[in-house]
């Protein structure tokens, strides 16, 4: 059997593609007449290894959008969500975001991408001028770096640097109390793992200067077996271990470290442990792992937060994730901003959003704020505690102090040359 067709893109299809590209530029979204409903586009990860997080983002958005629509919608217009799968690939996220605005007529964007994709969507927002709220990316530079700043983009997400400051000070306090001087780290070998671990140890050493990191392990992301890493850490005999492994990698690691009785030999600080995705999957969760709060319905321990967690579980038959509360909060911000601006116009919403404080079940004091100068979320509930193997999983959470966070964050920004 022979085929004569040459591979690759022919001249004709290239021309067709270019034509299609020109069309989409020539038909800007702003020119559309205001429809009865307001479409909000949302690229997120609905397939692949972290699909669970993307699905939980969509679920949380839908939960809140239903409430907003039942209460009359955004400035009188019903919300219609258009959620698309980016497969977790940055170039796909950018393409989907552009298509949502240009082809589907979405007037606002909720960017449910992980850090890798969010920077790509951010550039699309910069290019198209459409209002965009990032709802999943924790990478500090997304809003801290003034080069990234655009008036129409906001980040409604916890931030890496906040977590590091709170985690570092929490761990330092325990280090001092228990005399933990020798530390080991074990984190996935990619930007998130390296940055987060670096920042955590920076603040740990700042608050407890006699701490020494004696062993570092950098397993690959999605590595199936951690035995050699576990035994290496056992050889080093540290008194404490920090890890920012997450999801299936973290549960694998715990299962494998468990049979070496690692958790009886050192204090373990795993920032991503206290998330229902990991807590409910690990069958033999060791007692006493220190973790940051991702999302648990018992922290902040308010009736509002518990009710929200239960409502989510009732609707979707599983607990919300860290990505869930962030996405829900973004919809709450949009609803409040639309009420204040009495409009769904992106520019007007952006003006109101900057500096806006709203009541929110996930706030440290019942409110959260979209900080005006760098368009990022502050005042959310943030803290660390230790795990137990059954609900409520983290019975007591020591809250982070936002005053300290602000001081050290400002200092960090200066050291990075951001201010």
């Amino acid at each position: 059997m022979t085929r004569t067709r040459t591979p690759g893109i022919s001249r004709r299809s290239t021309l067709a593609l270019m034509g299609a590209g020109a069309m989409s530029v020539a038909a800007p979204w702003v020119a559309r007449a205001q429809a009865k409903t307001v479409k909000i586009g949302m690229p997120t990860i609905l397939s692949g290894r972290v699909a669970q997080l993307g699905t939980s983002s969509r679920n949380a958005v839908m939960l809140e959008v239903d409430k907003v629509n039942a209460a009359g919608g955004l400035a009188g217009r019903q919300i219609e969500m258009v959620v698309r799968d980016s497969k977790g690939q940055p170039q796909e996220a950018a393409r989907v975001a552009r298509e949502l605005v240009n082809t589907d007529g979405c007037e606002l964007l909720l960017d449910g991408e992980a850090s890798s994709g969010s920077f790509a969507v951010h550039e699309v927002a910069r290019d198209l001028g459409v209002l965009c709220i990032h709802t999943c990316s924790e990478a500090s530079s997304l809003t801290a770096d003034p080069k990234q700043h655009i008036p129409n983009a906001f980040r409604c997400v916890r931030q890496g640097i906040h977590d590091s400051i709170v985690g570092g000070s929490y761990a330092a306090a325990i280090s001092k109390a228990k005399g933990l001087k020798k530390w080991a780290t074990c984190s996935p070998d990619y930007a998130y793992g390296r940055d987060t671990t670096g920042e955590f140890t920076l603040y740990l050493k700042r608050f407890a200067p006699d701490v020494e990191v004696i062993s570092e392990s950098w397993p690959k992301l999605f590595q199936p077996d951690y035995t050699e890493v576990v035994t290496k850490i056992l050889q080093a005999k540290p008194q404490a271990l920090y890890s920012c492994l997450w999801g299936g990698d973290l549960t694998s690691y715990i299962d494998q470290a468990n049979i070496y009785a690692m958790f009886t030999q050192m204090e373990v600080f795993a920032v991503n442990m206290a998330d229902y995705t990991a807590l409910t999957v690990v069958k033999n969760l060791p007692k006493g792992i220190h973790s940051g709060n991702r999302y648990i319905k018992t922290y902040p321990s308010t009736p509002e937060n518990a009710a929200w967690g239960d409502a989510y579980k009732a609707k979707y038959n599983e607990y919300p994730t860290n990505w869930s509360w962030q996405n829900a909060t973004a919809v709450m911000f949009l609803a409040e901003a639309a009420k204040k601006a009495n409009s769904t116009d992106g520019k007007k919403l952006a003006e109101v959003l900057a500096g806006l404080t709203i009541k929110c079940p996930f706030g440290a004091d019942g409110t959260v704020t979209m900080r005006g100068d760098d368009h990022t979320l502050v005042g959310y509930a943030i803290g660390w505690g230790t795990t137990i193997p059954q609900e409520p999983y983290v019975p007591e959470v020591k809250a982070g102090d936002w005053k300290t966070i602000f001081e050290l964050e400002a200092e960090w920004k200066k050291s990075k040359g951001y201010t």
Partner: protein, 300 residues
């Protein structure tokens, strides 16, 4: 590079014991997957790129059986038997159609099934990761041998894999079926002319290969998280093992797998940032000095 850590470890019995057993565990699981791969290649002359899927199914079958019955033995049995049946069906219905076809064709069929099997798992068990949990009998303190740490579960794991290796080795060299299989690998036309059903032999070998990979998956299930696509990384390492050991050689698969396991466990001490690289480097050295692999036979 951290050569001090490596030499320090080599001179301490505690470290030596711990790292060697950790290397053996990684190696033995890898051996179970790789030996199926090499067996299928040796007899069927097919490079089974979908082999990782059997490892994955073994783990999922074991988890489901364990959660239903709470019995670890039944879980292992379900993992092994389930994948054996799956292997037989897969070979008879699909793979048997591409024997003698272009290598590219075989590759495409296998790759298609890598994707299909992943999606089947996603449909049945869901896209999120799962954990089987360690059976209560093995939730005990690890043993301390010469100061080194050895978890009892890993002793069982090494034992099971070793038994499988011995049974396989003796079975193939001594038993009648083993002789027929070897004959079929050598000259299928003649075997068939002697009145032996080669189709059955092929199906049986494929089922055996699938079963070994499934057993590896079942043994790994209590300590590794289960996700669709979990077979892929194991497959890549299995290929390295078969290339080092020599395609078609069972002893080669055993030696290759143990070498890779030991390289990983000691490499992570001495070359923490180059552990993966070491495996490939070792493969390159073997390929350059002996292109057929350590125990591979020269092509006729």
């Amino acid at each position: 590079m951290d050569l001090d850590a490596l030499t320090g470890c080599l001179s301490s019995s505690a470290c030596l014991v711990t790292q060697t057993t950790s290397g053996l565990i990684i190696g033995m699981l890898l051996f179970l997957v790789a030996v199926g791969l090499t067996l299928i290649f040796g007899v069927l002359k097919i490079v089974n790129f979908s082999h990782g899927a059997f490892y994955m199914f073994g783990a999922y079958f074991a988890m489901t059986a364990y959660h239903l019955t709470e019995s670890f033995a039944l879980a292992m049995l379900a993992g092994a038997a389930g994948t054996a049946i799956l292997g037989l069906i897969f070979e008879r219905v699909f793979m048997s159609r591409v024997y003698g076809a272009d290598v590219l064709m075989q590759l495409l069929v296998c790759y298609a099934f890598v994707l299909i099997f992943d999606d089947v798992v996603r449909l049945i068990w869901g896209p999120e990761f799962k954990s089987m949990g360690m059976p209560a009998a093995f939730q005990v303190m690890p043993l301390f041998i010469a100061g080194g740490v050895v978890p009892p579960y890993y002793l069982l794991l090494i034992g099971v894999a070793l038994v499988a290796a011995i049974v396989l080795g003796i079975g193939l060299s001594r038993s009648r079926i083993g002789k027929v299989i070897r004959a079929a690998a050598h000259n299928p036309g003649m075997v068939s002319a002697l009145g032996i059903n080669t189709g059955l032999i092929y199906g049986g070998v494929f089922a055996l290969g699938g079963m070994l990979a499934g057993l590896a998956g079942a043994l790994a299930a209590p300590v590794r998280s289960l996700t669709p696509g979990m077979g892929f990384s194991v497959l890549i390492e299995s290929f390295i093992v078969t290339v080092i050991g020599g395609m078609g050689s069972i002893v080669g698969a055993l030696v290759g797998a143990l070498l890779i396991g030991l390289i990983r466990s000691f490499g992570s001490l001495g070359f923490p940032l180059f552990t993966e690289g070491l495996m490939y480097l070792f493969m390159v050295i073997v390929l350059v000095s002996k292109p057929t692999g350590l125990f591979g036979k020269e092509a006729a």
